[in-house]
């Protein structure tokens, strides 16, 4: 059995950021992920905000890693060709008490090293975002928005191109610690792998284990004998609004945190793709896999949405979804606890990351830097030779940065004459072409799923939610990639969309039509 220098458990944005950074060293690296693809957990189910860092206690991990992450993300996204926009944000106060909170945030942000923050009055607010209510606001120009699922995918691809190995649909079931008495020099991770309805057991050996398993991190920690942490799932529901409203919002608008007496203090967030998100809510739940949306919260989100955007029509609400935060703070405590990023002294070689909820996305590259330092204390590190930079070629398929839909007419014409598949529209609402679908499927590191295609191309994310493209995608997966109708899944084993063929070939004679 091959012993990897480091095994990362979890291919969310944290795991993939760490993977990318470590893959640029000489370490042998394996990432184990229980889902069929990267980022299927909370990494793809959040607001996509690159926070400024004003909200966190100075000196805390959240503050330090957020500010550092914010600083390097723009360049990182540029290198990896991930959509990013520095949109800025205003945190709005509606009462004197809330204005006072703004001054506290200003002080805190300044101490955290957040650049460019300032308090603004109603006139300045009106210029930035006409029609906003409130008395005053804190303006943070360094806040940005990014596509969280594209970032996670790009980080994984970068790691892959630099030699990192990935195992998808592998769930870690138990961990054996290094034990000289049992002649075991390294960690042994025992996994279950599901493929074509069969379950196999496969084990991997590692010198260093990095626990980046998000909602599952407490379970992984327990497997290593670490009992002191509990992860409390806390669900946030969202509404996605139609792109036709994209120009209604110039920048992010958030209420003062914790100071709302009624409702959820709803955030309105632009996405880099031009949708608006309403949400998220905040609800502790028992089941960490329950990504339901609920009637009461959806109604509240709808009401607050109408309140903030009076021109909203019923058909503008195109989808709801929810994400589950891996919180360390129990329900009776609420609020946030600081990130746990530790190299365990009691279990040398085990690096534990716990409770990476907001601002985890922003902090991800900075956390990766820190983990590299921690690994470096365990194993001597050198830079890899010939580091592959940027967005690499994967499976002989180069990455096309500019989406077809964002091209000018001339560019579209040129693309189509160069590759005829750009002329076939697959997703009409988001203008995604056959060429892009094929590219995305070819570049997928693990098995191809509808959700994976969706995150890579935006197909099925538009106003018809797959009404036009699902049937086309089915044909493409069948004909161009040999994935039979029975094998096509929404998001991995168990989520097969179809139940076989309606009519199958049987033994009766073939009839010529009479």
């Amino acid at each position: 059995m091959k012993t990897y220098d480091a095994v990362i458990v979890g291919a969310g944005v944290i795991g993939c950021a760490i993977a990318r950074t470590l893959a640029q060293t000489n370490l042998s690296l394996l990432i184990i992920e229980k889902e069929p693809d990267t980022g299927f957990g909370i990494s793809s189910r959040n607001s996509g905000v690159v926070h400024s860092g004003i909200h966190y206690a100075p000196g805390s991990n959240r503050a330090v890693y957020n500010v550092r992450g914010n600083r390097i993300l723009e360049e990182l996204c540029s290198e990896l060709k991930v959509p990013y926009k520095r949109s800025g944000k205003i945190t709005v106060a509606f009462s004197d008490e809330q204005v006072h909170i703004l001054t506290t945030l200003l002080k805190q942000g300044t101490e955290n090293g957040v650049p460019g923050i300032k308090l603004i009055d109603k006139n300045e607010m009106e210029i930035l975002q006409p029609g906003t209510g409130g008395k005053a606001a804190l303006y943070t120009p360094s806040t940005g928005i990014v596509s969280p699922y594209e970032l996670t995918i790009a980080l994984a691809e970068s790691a892959y191109a630099n030699g990192a190995e990935f195992r998808f649909n592998h769930t870690v079931k138990s961990v054996d610690l290094p034990d000289p008495a049992q002649h075991r020099e390294h960690f042994l991770l025992h996994t279950e792998h599901v493929e074509s309805s069969r379950t196999k057991r496969i084990s991997y050996a590692a010198k260093v284990v990095i626990n980046a398993a998000g909602l599952g991190s407490a379970d992984i920690a327990k497997m290593a004998g670490i009992d002191e942490y509990t992860i409390y799932p806390c669900r946030g529901e969202y509404y996605v609004l139609d792109k036709r409203l994209r120009n209604s919002l110039n920048l992010l608008i958030y209420p003062v945190p914790g100071a709302h007496s009624s409702g959820l203090g709803i955030h309105l967030t632009n996405t880099v793709d031009g949708n608006i998100l309403i949400g998220p809510s905040n609800e502790y739940i028992m089941d960490d896999e329950d990504t339901s949306t609920t009637i009461n919260i959806m109604e509240t989100l709808r009401e607050e949405g109408h309140h903030l955007l009076p021109t909203l029509g019923g058909s503008d609400f195109i989808r709801n979804f929810s994400g589950i935060r891996p919180k360390l703070a129990p329900p009776e405590e609420g609020g946030f606890r600081d990130f746990v990023i530790e190299s365990r002294s009691d279990i040398p070689g085990f690096i534990n990351l716990m409770g990476i909820e907001s601002p985890g996305l922003t902090a991800s590259p900075a956390i990766a830097e820190k983990v590299k330092v921690l690994v470096g204390k365990l194993i001597p590190l050198q830079n890899r030779e010939n580091i592959v930079r940027g967005r690499p070629v994967i499976h002989n398929t180069p990455f096309t940065e500019k989406s077809f839909s964002s091209c000018s007419k001339e560019e579209k014409s040129r693309l189509i004459s160069h590759n005829p598949d750009y002329g076939s529209i697959v997703c009409r609402c988001e203008e995604v072409t056959l060429a892009e679908i094929k590219e995305a499927a070819a570049r997928t590191l693990g098995p191809v799923t509808f959700a994976g295609i969706k995150y890579r191309t935006r197909a099925m994310m538009g106003r018809c939610q797959g009404g036009f493209c699902l049937q086309r995608l089915t044909e493409i997966l069948r004909e161009s990639f040999g994935i039979t109708v029975e094998e096509q899944t929404l998001k991995g084993p168990g989520t097969e969309l179809f139940m076989g063929s309606l009519r199958t070939s049987q033994t009766p004679d073939i009839k010529e039509s009479l």
């Binding site: 009637i295 959806m298 189509i416 049937q471 998001k491």
Partner: protein
């Protein structure tokens, strides 16, 4: 008819009339345009064959009015296609299949359409355009379907296409949300394919589809119809496992204490249709918030001169026979627009036009057309909001006077699922209203 998949056109070809969509509306519009004298008509269809939604509608009931027969969808489409084979018509028409209209821009006394197909991106020009793109289905998101989002949730039309055209079985035990005709047809379809339809639900206290379909699709198979019922939660992490529904009280709130859990592995949504209005909107046409289709005059011309609309993109129809009738008319109006120099300027026409308005609270959800520009024979289409018996529709002058009512139509029964359609002779262009009343 010239048909070519990889049609390569040189130098931005010009057509008199461009028709977007080759479903029943587009085919009839092409016929209407060519017959009325348009020299060149192009039909642009995104699928590789014409027929539109009819291709997946293998059930019968089409053509009862137009052909006096009960045909299946594809047979009706073939008949409509056949009409175009007439020698005088056929040479004027070009069909661009597998082609998508990416952009529609009014300009220079006409329109430019950016069209793309495999290997080709072109701009073609037309003096007039007829929109015939049909409609799309309302989604789970649009109804804020609560619960999880596992595999096994489909809109009814998508399920129909997957089953009838792609030979894919979507599920073995289904609950159908919405009792409109598509949902009812799929209930029967699934049952005949040995799947189990556990229930059809509807938030309204009455079925959304035709009586005939309730009988032949539900009663025949003892499929329960749960009216005034809403969804509490969809269950299932990976695949649909069940759905909890509950009755709705008179205020529209769920009575959770009376919830029922129905186990199933498939959920079909038949919760409404929305006209594909994006191209119309992009071209600057004003939309009617009730129909979600464009605002039109009696010639089915939108607020953009030269841009016409017909079929489901204008208003959601229930009988394809009416679609063909409406579309043929739209096509001929488009042709007339191109051939006849305007007698009056657009400004004068607009100043002369009068709005057909809807009396609020009279159980009419909408009336088409929205404006009348000149006297003539006008076809009015409308739908009621709730079912009613003994219903009259009046067309009357807006100004109150003793003899203001110009026309009255009486119906023994009306229902939202059946479009009302009748003609009226408009002698003078004056402000009119259409309203209903029970008697």
């Amino acid at each position: 008819m010239k048909k070519n998949l990889n049609f390569s056109l040189e130098n931005e070809p010009q057509f008199a009339v461009a028709i977007i969509g080759a479903g029943p509306a587009g085919l009839a519009a092409a016929f209407g345009a060519a017959k009325a004298g348009a020299e060149s008509v192009v039909i642009i269809e995104r699928n590789y064959q014409p027929g539109g939604i009819l291709n997946q509608c293998i059930h019968d009931g089409f053509g009862l009015h137009r052909y006096n027969e009960s045909l299946s969808g594809p047979e009706y489409a073939a008949r409509e296609n056949n009409i175009l084979q007439n020698k005088e018509i056929i040479d004027k028409i070009t069909l661009l299949a597998g082609t998508f209209v990416q952009d529609l821009v009014p300009e220079n006394q006409g329109f430019s359409l950016a069209v793309m197909s495999s290997g080709s991106f072109r701009v073609i020009r037309a003096a007039a355009v007829v929109l015939a793109m049909g409609c799309r289905e309302r989604t789970a998101g649009a109804i804020s379907l609560p619960g999880t989002r596992p595999a096994g949730i489909f809109t009814a039309g998508t399920a129909q296409r997957l089953m009838n055209m792609q030979n894919i079985s979507v599920g073995k035990r289904a609950v159908i949300i919405g009792s409109g005709d598509i949902g009812l047809i799929m209930a029967r379809r699934l049952t005949l394919e040995s799947a189990d339809v556990a229930a059809v639900t509807d938030i309204q206290p009455y079925p959304g589809g035709l009586d005939r379909n309730v009988r032949q699709c539900l009663h025949d198979f003892n499929i329960p119809l749960m009216l005034s019922t809403g969804v509490v939660k969809v269950h299932g992490k990976k695949r649909v496992e069940g759905i909890t529904v509950a009755p709705l009280d008179t205020l529209g709130n769920l009575e959770l204490s009376s919830s029922t859990y129905i186990s199933c592995n498939t959920i079909l949504l038949s919760v409404g249709l929305i006209p594909e209005h994006e191209l119309a909107r992009g071209a600057g046409a004003a939309l009617d918030t009730s129909t979600q289709g464009p605002i039109v005059d009696q010639h089915l011309m939108t607020t953009v001169p030269g841009l016409f609309a017909c079929g489901n993109v204008l208003q959601v129809h229930d009988l394809v026979d009416f679609v063909s009738e409406e579309a043929e008319y739209a096509g001929s109006c488009a042709s007339n627009k191109v051939l006849t120099p305007p007698r009056l300027s657009i400004e004068t026409t607009q100043a002369n036009s009068t709005t057909l308005s809807l009396k609020v609270g009279s159980n009419l959800r909408y009336v088409l057309p929205h404006t009348i520009t000149e006297p003539g024979r006008i076809t009015l289409s409308m739908r009621v909001t709730v079912p009613e018996v003994n219903f009259r529709v009046h067309v009357a002058r807006l100004e109150k006077s003793a003899d203001r009512i110009l026309l009255t139509k009486t119906f023994s029964r009306v229902s939202p699922s059946e479009m009302l359609r009748f003609t009226f002779n408009c002698d003078t262009v004056e402000p009119l209203e259409v309203y209903g009343e029970s008697f």
